[in-house]
Subunit: 490 residues, 4 copies
């Protein structure tokens, strides 16, 4: 009757950054600045957005499912968020009935006053802490790991909010970039290893924080510096900035995947242009795995910078052999298997006239489940490509992330299931190569990987997790993913 | 330009019951039964409605602003609420941004499992308890006094849920009828004085509870008995019913206003037909305050039964001198002063042809601010009535309620501001009389008021509050109403 | 699983007036006045509402499904309808996909300028005219019979709009009350027999028209007179009022059912108070069909005035033996047969305590299909009534209406299928009586029915249709109802 | 207070194709195929979408504002559109209250049966024809020029629908690609000069039509051929395809701007790959206007293929110096002037690290008003570019389009107001060059422009309009744009 449905979902064959955060203090129109900043971070989370503001007397909050522009595009929406301090959050969330109550910033009224928090990252002992808190009578209202922080602050024995927050952060493990609003001012925190990014900027007299520097460009702010791993930056309403380092000095391990995929190419991450890093990965890939071909074709849009690098290094011309539709956006209905191909074509279509009869090198940023790669290769062949060589601008992704990135369970990762030659067979390419881990390190940081103390968190490639994983260890007999018992209460 | 607005708000010149509750256990379609029961209780709260259900494994909840029919009229809505146990709530709430999170049933996941509660009434020490709980680290997520119960249960030292609940109820003062859902079954509780009503019924093998018996009629259930003041009824999934009386025996003080206005005339309250009680009040009023007139005219619809009683007792014919529109419903925009009259006419219109040249007795259930009474009298005069005598089927309402009824602050109550003759002048009637307090008691209960130990809570008429009012006493320098510091966080 | 659904539809067991119209010219806020006027006519059509206005230069229109208050309650909605002239319409429509495009006022831009029309009534040769117009190339955009008028005006050979309109009205047969807006002013028309009502009033310097006088009460206007049968009233922007009688003089035949059911009791129809007429019908019924009983119980709300009349005439006390919920409103889902009873109880509930053990006389305005009457009788018996006597304040309804009233097809009308004794058996009453046709005429007009030239249209009782029924005659082999071929195009 | 608004509108500084059309006949799920096809044409119109289907007995229609995915993404939406024949339309419309009634396909019920039409293009004598039709009594229900066709068909003297359609098309002048649905089958028409594109494909046994071939790729259909200029293709339900050429043979003048901007790069237009044509324009531009520079930077995304061509021809490296956000989409609020810059940055952000200190060649497809070009140049300079050379892949756009492209009025076109050197000053570039008209012709078609009989419609560059412009000529004293007297009736 209706064999295919026109707008099926994508098949989840990418890694998703779970969040982006933004904060502003000292800005006459803090929520407007925050909405613009969040919009620039939209690629880090498209399922929900929220802003919390403080006007010196009261806290205001507005959160909604969908994009920033859907929730914060009207004067009315922003007028409900007055004040000179604001925090914002974009979220990539798993869908389901629980929806809105997990949208951040989370807010609670503590004995000392209001407390709002926006969090990018994940606590790897959140369930353990939650169980302990509930046993003592704490009542949770979301299934978000972030709420653990609020209860730890609420029940801390310390008198001041800053000490309560530090007390709470000592108890959590994992990765975080936090923007906290209190009646005294804004607090920005980054985990001791700096796994998740957090940047600091200046907009006139106001201080702003964001997951990525591109947010500063869009609002016209000046990039000042990264928040340091383990640093807690406190800014009050007089503009005084205070820096605390309560967790001692440890070598940073920022997430290397920010360079590979998450960050926008026009951001600066860990002191290096993301665009330049990606081009360098492509160049490295061309050196490590050259191929005799007619065209270098990026899988748009994430593969474009690496493809330019590959093309410039190899001399093979860069061409748009795949055209991406700008109108895919959110989709609503689960696909039938038979409709998968149509789904891929809705998003990516072969530039048939160009690729017909050609030997092409496809450049993509990573391979997750491999199903998209297979479809892309098939699409190239159907369009008449003579040879299809697949080059990947990251090493094989063989391990799950527990630090705030939405990865499939390990058994679904293609690289966890097979070696490179079977992978090549699976995606039906003529050849397949990944950049080496040392090649990647060289491209993004200049030096090869320090095996004893790596310069990045690269656990998704190496399985070398830089923190303990308490919840996972307690539940090895269960699925190896952090999940809360979701009672279906809206 | 646009001098009047067609759909202005009513002027709030009535008392509002704040809630109705319903519960069912052992019913194969508990949420459907609950939706029908709530619909029959719609007059007790029209601003929001919610249902929580339990299917033996998980809790489900759906809450929304608006009428029951707006939220629970589709198969889809009810299919999201599976299980054989459900609790429901309708709410008259003050409007404002805080909205949805105060809609009941409230739900929390405690260490012992899920806990849902629907509450009709008000705790007169809620703020005091809340302050104590927050100081210990409790995080509240609504501004509802009901949430206090959940935190008291969560932090109780007793091991079982029933003991924790009794522990919590010992700490609260005020009025309540509660429906609680736990994984072990349903618990129905009524405050020690029985201020708020709670009825128990039987629908096949299932046990049902409701604020009023009319809910049983509508679902086809049998009325069993009232839940006793101070009684805790526990029903498990095998249909075992257990009755606890943990608070000792005290003489009941049910709210006499249930007879005057709140309950539907087809309900049985405190063992007496509400319709019969209202007719008896009208008869009493005719005996106490007769008047030589041509017509008895009820202010529709609440004044109708008393008017029938007045007419039958006095022999003056009962006639519909005022026609009520069925299409007023909720309105959205604040009126300009000049539009007030149009607003009254949209709801009530004089049956001019009937009243012209006549001496009429208007019967209304009560006078709150007096502004509506004034407009009704003026409307009768404009329609040509020769004399307008106002008779009120309750004593002067001179005191605020702290037990779950939304009364204006005391200074706005006409009877708190002036004696009867000035009130008559204010509403411009030819004569004005209220039923006497003893007349009211006789009509609804057969005996006059026992001054030492009154048979009802009649604090709104007498100022004789049957419980302590801790929050009020702590804040006499502030406004004499229970209110929480409303942080505008959605 | 879910045997009953809580909010099933009513079973369509009433007659529905299909429309109400309102017009205003010379009012500074014409659309606001029109919205208020339509609200007072809401009982004549609850499915859709529309207003069209003219500001001297342009026409504006807003139409929507649902109640007047849902569509015209905001300043924004009314601000979109500027100007000193407006026409409004409320509609009871059969549901279905075609929806919005049939909502009136209809508007078209003719060669002479804009032309808006709101119509209460029905043309009994609409399909025949439509077929002729389409054959000539006319393109219809609704399935409403009203659009025929617009095409007839557009294609008339006369030069002026008023002559074109008269030309068009000469071609139609049936019943109509029309409000027409043109750039020259407002035109109000009533069909030559005056079957459908149309009243004229004065609000300050502005002239207003409405289906019922209650609309004038609500807006504070003064009732001037009825528009005469066959009269065309033209009002220009200087306030000049012109009356045309282009169709000659014929004896009026206003719809007698306006007195029985359609009009609000506080309206004046055909020179007589509707409330007084209904009471008189009840008195007549008590004289014609007395019964030894304990209580007179109205089926609320339409049976109340007749019940008061019956009670006063008979001396049997009037009591509210059935309580009506105010929260039924529109419902959304078709009922399963098993849920019919619950549906009746949601709307009407027995006042059990009152009727138990009593002999009751039920008074209803009419019997259509008989299914509701059966349920009401059964409800009384279940509540313990000893005897149930049914008295109907109109003669048996045995014929369909083709003049704008939504009647079931004839075969569904109980009185078309059986005599009175079988009807009594069907509804399970102890006795059943209808008011006689002469008794009805006496009650509403003072004289018995003039068989040669009846004073009213009473075709639904007598089958004596006062106009020809061209469409029906052309399609006697088809169903005997006017219907357009509904192409499902939104 | 709130000096800038975060989501202001773009400034309209592009040309917009007004429509895309799609049709399918003989497909078991015609509306699903049509939804997918329209989605692939989404870039041709993002404001509204509609589909009309026919199931052999009835016509069905669904139209909505917004994207295809917003209106046709659910099984429910498509289930309302059954049948094996469907037509679809996407529209770029000017906003305003008239909205939905102008959304296509338009549908009318004619004497011969249903008639649906979807139109890409514009009739340059629509107002003249409309005036004539209204004078004869035709009633228009939209302000769309397309409705003229329906009235011309309805009033034609010919007996068959196909002859009536040809009769109607003889009366119109201008540009059109039409998909017409009738009970006999589908008719696809292209204007005699082939100004607007229309392609024909095959999907299994069904025949499909689309504005661009990319729609065939996405649904998995095979491209068969272009519909010829002046050709009328008729397909019946047995799959018979008939071709009529009722307008004689004239040399084709397809719109050259399809190659420059409108069509997707993966489409084939007029027998040539659009991607290849754009690259060739870039190469031509590099030959005509070389510059000594460090980077070739496209204005994304439309400038990318030309930039690749420019880079390959010149040897200057292609780099992403501007990063485009994928989340701009529709915006809702008019910008304040001060916020313009933020708006540009939300959409386009400089890749500062890359362009700093560099001499860059910016490649864009065209310059309309010039305001965007100015902002892009300024953004490059703020990011540190040493020199900014602007190269445009089309000649100066100096004339309005009257064939279905939404151009600003002529006085707003930068190239209509000034020569090239003042334009360079206006956009603040170091140098500015456009491709020559002969260079453009060579790139897209292989030969230079034939001045006597040009191979393309290039009126926007040359002012050489290939048809008469009746409406424009009749109103030279008025604004030189086709517009209907918009009565604000929704």
């Amino acid at each position: 009757m209706m064999p295919i449905h026109p707008f099926e979902d994508s098949n989840g064959d990418t890694l998703h950054e779970e969040c982006g955060v933004f904060g502003a203090i000292g800005a006459p129109d803090a929520s407007t600045v925050t909405a613009l900043g969040l919009h620039a971070l939209q690629h880090r989370g498209q399922e929900a957005a929220g802003i919390c503001s403080f006007d010196g007397a009261e806290f205001y909050s507005r959160r909604g499912l969908g994009h920033v522009a859907e929730n914060f595009s009207t004067q009315e929406a922003l007028a409900e968020l007055p004040g000179t301090m604001a925090a914002g959050h974009v979220r990539y969330s798993t869908t389901g009935g629980s929806g809105l109550r997990n949208v951040q910033p989370l807010y609670a009224e503590l004995a000392a006053g209001g407390f709002a928090v926006a969090h990018n990252g994940n606590f790897s002992n959140a369930q353990t802490l939650r169980d302990e808190l509930v046993a003592k009578g704490a009542i949770f209202h979301s299934t978000s790991d972030t709420e653990v922080i609020i209860h730890l602050v609420a029940t801390s024995r310390y008198p001041t909010t800053i000490d309560r927050l530090i007390d709470a952060l000592r108890l959590v493990e994992g990765a975080y970039a936090l923007i906290v609003l209190t009646p005294e001012g804004l607090i920005a925190c980054r985990d001791p290893l700096g796994i998740r990014p957090l940047q600091m900027g200046k907009l006139g007299d106001s201080t702003v924080f964001a997951s990525e520097t591109v947010a500063f460009d869009v609002i016209g702010a000046e990039f000042v510096r990264q928040v340091q791993p383990g640093e807690i930056v406190r800014v009050d309403f007089d503009g005084n900035i205070d820096s605390l380092h309560p967790f001692g000095n440890r070598k940073a391990r920022p997430c290397i995947f920010e360079h590979v995929y998450f960050s926008r190419p026009d951001s600066i991450f860990d002191g290096r242009s993301v665009y330049a890093a990606r081009k360098a990965i492509g160049e490295q890939l061309a050196i490590e795995s050259p191929v005799d071909a007619d065209l270098v074709v990026p899988v748009p849009d994430s593969g474009v910078p690496a493809a330019i690098g590959y093309a410039q290094q190899s001399g093979v011309p860069f061409e748009l052999g795949i055209i991406r539709s700008h109108y895919v956006g959110r989709t609503f209905i689960q696909p039938s298997d038979s409709a998968r191909h149509s789904g891929v074509k809705r998003k990516h279509n072969a530039n048939r006239h160009l690729v017909e009869g050609k030997r092409i090198v496809l450049i993509d940023d990573s391979i997750v489940r491999g199903t998209t790669s297979l479809k892309i290769v098939e699409m190239m062949r159907e369009a008449g490509a003579k040879e299809v060589h697949f080059r990947v601008a990251s090493p094989p992704t063989a391990h799950s992330c527990f630090y705030g990135v939405d990865t499939p369970e390990r058994s679904k990762l293609l690289a966890a299931r097979m070696e490179i030659e079977p992978m090549r067979e699976f995606i039906k390419a003529d050849s397949l190569a990944f950049v080496s881990i040392d090649g990647l390190y060289r491209a993004v940081g200049g030096a090869t990987r320090d095996g004893k103390c790596p310069q990045f968190c690269d656990a998704c490639f190496t399985g070398d997790y830089p923190t303990s994983l308490t919840d996972l260890e307690k539940r090895t007999s269960q699925e190896a993913q952090l999940s809360f018992p979701v009672h279906k209460v809206a």
